[in-house]
C-alpha cells in the first residue's frame, strides 16, 4: 500500500502508487476509510456492489470514489476494503466491504464534500499505476 498526502492549502490532495488498477482502488479505499473514519477500525461486516464507468480510467477512478462517498452520506456505509472483480479500462465492477458507521465506535471526521476533477491524474507508469486526486473538505 502506497499513498501520500501532498501539500494543499484548503483541501486534501493525495498521491497513490500501485502495481495494478485493482490495487489503486484498494489504496484509494484506504484513503477514503481514513478520511471518513479516522484511525478507527472498520470491519468488513457487509458489502455493497459498485460499478463505476467512464470514458477512461480517470473517470472510472473518480466515479468509484464518488460512489463510496455517496454510500457513506446516504447509507452511513464505511468502506474497509474492496474487491475488484473486473476492470476493462472503461468500467470497474467492484464489491466494497465495510460496515455501518456507529458514532460510539467511529470517530467523527470533518465532512468530505466531494471528490474533484481538479488536477485529477490517473495514469499507467512503469511498473504500475499512479493517481493524484483532490478531495473537497
Amino acid at each position: 500500500m502506497s499513498y501520500s498526502f501532498l501539500p494543499h492549502t484548503a483541501d486534501i490532495r493525495v498521491a497513490i502508487e500501485a502495481s495494478s488498477f485493482e490495487e489503486l482502488l484498494q489504496d484509494a479505499t484506504a484513503v477514503m476509510r481514513g478520511l471518513l473514519a479516522g484511525e478507527c477500525r472498520v470491519e468488513a461486516r457487509d458489502e455493497r456492489s459498485v460499478i463505476a464507468s467512464g470514458e477512461d480510467p480517470s473517470e472510472v477512478f473518480l466515479g468509484y470514489l464518488q460512489e463510496v462517498l455517496y454510500l457513506f452520506e446516504t447509507d452511513a456505509f464505511l468502506p474497509a476494503s474492496v474487491t475488484t472483480e473486473r476492470f476493462t479500462g472503461r468500467e470497474a465492477v467492484t464489491r466494497i466491504h465495510g460496515e455501518t458507521h456507529e458514532a460510539a465506535r467511529h470517530e467523527h471526521q470533518p465532512e468530505v464534500k466531494a471528490v474533484t476533477r481538479h488536477g485529477l491524474t490517473v495514469e499507467r507508469r512503469t511498473g504500475g499505476w499512479y493517481a493524484e486526486v483532490v478531495f473537497d473538505v
Binding site: 498526502f5 483541501d11 467523527h108 468530505v112 464534500k113 474533484t116 481538479h118 488536477g119
Partner: protein, 482 residues
C-alpha cells in the same frame, strides 16, 4: 491549449496587482491584496487558477481575485468572473460544490453582560437543537418529495410559510432568499442527500457563532442595521449541504461532455463549462438555483432554532426582537446587469468565495438598504473577529459588485492538525472567553485561528481599495462547529 507556466504579476497600487495576459488568456487577472498577503500566495496555485479562469470563453473584464484568495479547485476560492450572456459560459467549478454557501447575521437586544452568565446553557442548547458534524440530519424536519420540491422552488419563503421565520426576514436576504429554481433539474441522488439535512450546519469551516459588537466604524449605518456597542449577535455559516454537492457533481459530468461538444478547450478539467445559451447551461442554472434555495431555507431554519434557544433562555420578547441583519451567498452564479465600457451589459457573475456587495441606490436592494448599500458579512476565524461591511459604488464599478468573503486559509489542514496536536484548543479558546461546542475534535484542530489569514487584514484591503466599507467589528464568545 497554451497555458502560461510562468505567471507574470505586476503591482498596480497599494491594493491591486495585475496578472499579465499571456498565452491563451482572453483577459488579464486582477488581484486585490497588500504586499504581505501577496507574499503569502507564493507556492500556492491560486494565482495560476486566476490565469486559468482568464482562458474561459466570453469572459468580460478581468479574472478577479479577492484578498482572501486561496487554492481551490477550478476557480480559486475568492474568485470573481463575469461572462457575457450570449458569448460566455457557466461553469459549476466557478460556483463550487457547496452551492450558496453563505452567512447570515442576527442581532438581538441582549448585551454581553446579559449573556455571559447563561453562555454555557445557550451553547448547549444551540449544539443540541442545530445538528452539526458530518452526515448531520434532523428527524423533526424530514421532507417528503413534494415538500422538498417546494423548498427547491421557494427557498427561504417556504420556511417562512411553514412558520420558521417572519415575512420581514425575506427582504433581508440576497434575492429575497429565492431564485428561479427548477426541482426537475435536480437528480434523485441529490434529492436523497437533501431529505434530512435541512436545518443542519455541516462540518469544516461551517459554524453557528455567538458574538458581540466590539467596534463601530460607521455610526449611522450601524445604527440603521441595529448594531449597538456590546450588542449580542448570531452568525450562521452553512450552505446547501449534500444536495448542493451532488448537484455540482452531476453537472460537472454534464459539463465535461458539453465542453467537448461545444469545442471549449480547458486548462483544467474542473473548469468544464457550457455556453450560457445552451440547454446544458440552462438546466444547470435551474438546478443550481434550486440548490441555492435549499441553502437559503437551511440558514432560515437554523435562525429559527436560534430564536427558539433565545426564547427558552431569555424569554419571548428577546426572541421576538432577534432580527435578521442580512443573509448573503458566497458561492453562486447569477445574471446581473453591470456597466461595462460605459454601457449596461447583462452578464453571468460567478462568485466563488466572494460576496455580492451592491452599492447604495441599487434597485435590487430592499428599501431599508437603498440609501446605505447592501450589508456584507465577513466571518473570520473562531478565535478573533468578524466584520460587517456595506457595498460601495467602487465594487460595482470594478468587481461586478463583489467583495471578499472571509479570512481565507493560509495553512493546510495537515499543518493545522500538527500544530494543534499537543494543545487543547477548546480550552485555550475558553480561557480567552470563547466557548466551543464541536462534533469533532479534528475539525476544531483543523480550524485553529492560526490556520487562517487575519480577516482584519483582508477587510482592510477591500476597504482601502474601495470595494467595501467597514461598518462594525464583531468578537465571538461562543462557537458551535461541525
Amino acid at each position: 491549449m497554451s497555458v502560461p507556466t510562468k505567471v507574470s504579476v505586476e503591482r498596480i497600487d497599494e491594493y491591486r496587482w495585475r496578472v499579465k495576459r499571456a498565452g491563451g488568456m482572453r483577459t488579464e487577472g486582477l488581484i486585490f491584496a497588500d504586499a504581505e498577503l501577496m507574499h503569502d500566495l507564493e507556492g500556492d496555485q491560486c494565482v495560476q487558477q486566476v490565469v486559468n479562469v482568464a482562458h474561459l470563453p466570453g469572459i468580460v473584464g478581468p479574472s478577479i481575485a479577492m484578498p482572501d484568495i486561496h487554492w481551490g479547485y477550478g476557480f480559486p476560492i475568492g474568485g470573481v468572473a463575469a461572462f457575457d450572456e450570449k458569448e460566455g459560459v457557466v461553469s459549476p467549478g466557478g460556483v463550487g460544490y457547496d452551492i450558496n454557501c453563505g452567512v447570515r447575521l442576527l442581532r438581538t437586544p441582549l448585551t454581553v453582560d446579559d449573556v455571559r452568565p447563561k453562555l454555557t446553557p445557550l451553547m448547549d442548547t444551540l449544539y443540541h437543537t442545530i445538528p452539526s458534524g458530518v452526515g448531520s440530519s434532523r428527524s423533526d424536519v424530514k421532507l417528503g418529495p413534494r415538500e422538498l420540491d417546494r423548498v427547491l422552488e421557494r427557498g427561504a419563503a417556504w420556511t417562512v410559510e411553514r412558520g420558521y421565520g417572519r415575512e420581514r426576514d425575506l427582504e433581508c436576504i440576497e434575492a429575497n432568499g429565492s431564485l428561479p429554481g427548477e426541482p426537475d433539474a435536480v437528480s434523485q441522488r441529490a434529492k436523497k442527500r437533501g431529505t434530512t439535512q435541512l436545518g443542519t450546519v455541516g462540518s469544516g469551516n461551517h459554524f453557528v457563532e455567538v458574538g458581540y459588537v466590539a467596534e463601530i466604524y460607521e455610526d449611522g449605518i450601524a445604527n440603521r442595521l441595529g448594531l449597538r456597542p456590546e450588542g449580542i449577535t448570531f452568525f450562521i455559516h452553512s450552505g446547501s449541504r449534500g444536495l448542493g454537492y451532488q448537484v455540482c457533481d452531476d453537472y460537472l459530468d454534464t459539463m465535461v461532455q458539453a465542453a467537448r461538444k461545444y469545442g471549449i478547450d480547458l486548462p483544467d478539467k474542473q473548469l468544464c463549462c457550457a455556453p450560457l445559451t445552451s440547454p446544458e447551461a440552462r438546466r444547470y442554472m435551474g438546478a443550481m438555483n434550486a440548490a441555492a434555495n435549499y441553502a437559503f431555507a437551511n440558514r432560515q431554519l437554523m435562525a429559527h432554532y436560534v430564536r427558539k434557544a433565545l426564547d427558552k433562555l431569555f424569554g419571548e420578547d428577546v426572541a421576538e426582537q432577534a432580527d435578521l441583519v442580512y443573509d448573503v451567498a458566497h458561492n453562486i452564479a447569477k445574471f446581473e446587469t453591470h456597466e461595462v465600457e460605459g454601457k449596461p451589459r447583462r452578464v453571468c457573475v460567478h462568485r466563488k468565495g466572494a460576496t455580492r456587495a451592491f452599492p447604495p441606490g441599487h434597485r435590487e436592494l430592499a428599501d431599508r438598504f437603498r440609501d446605505i448599500g447592501q450589508p456584507v458579512l465577513i466571518p473570520g476565524d473562531m478565535g478573533r473577529y468578524s466584520f460587517v461591511l456595506v457595498g460601495t459604488p467602487g465594487a460595482f464599478a470594478e468587481t461586478f459588485g463583489s467583495t471578499c468573503h472571509g479570512a481565507g486559509r493560509r495553512m493546510s489542514r495537515h499543518q493545522a492538525k500538527k500544530m494543534a496536536r499537543s494543545r487543547n484548543v477548546p480550552r485555550e479558546l475558553e480561557e480567552r472567553g470563547i466557548l466551543i461546542r464541536a462534533a469533532s475534535r479534528r475539525t476544531v484542530d483543523e480550524e485553529i485561528p492560526e490556520a487562517y489569514k487575519d480577516v482584519k487584514q483582508v477587510v482592510d484591503v477591500v476597504h482601502g481599495a474601495g470595494i467595501g466599507k467597514k461598518v462594525a467589528k464583531l468578537v465571538p464568545i461562543g462557537v458551535v462547529k461541525g
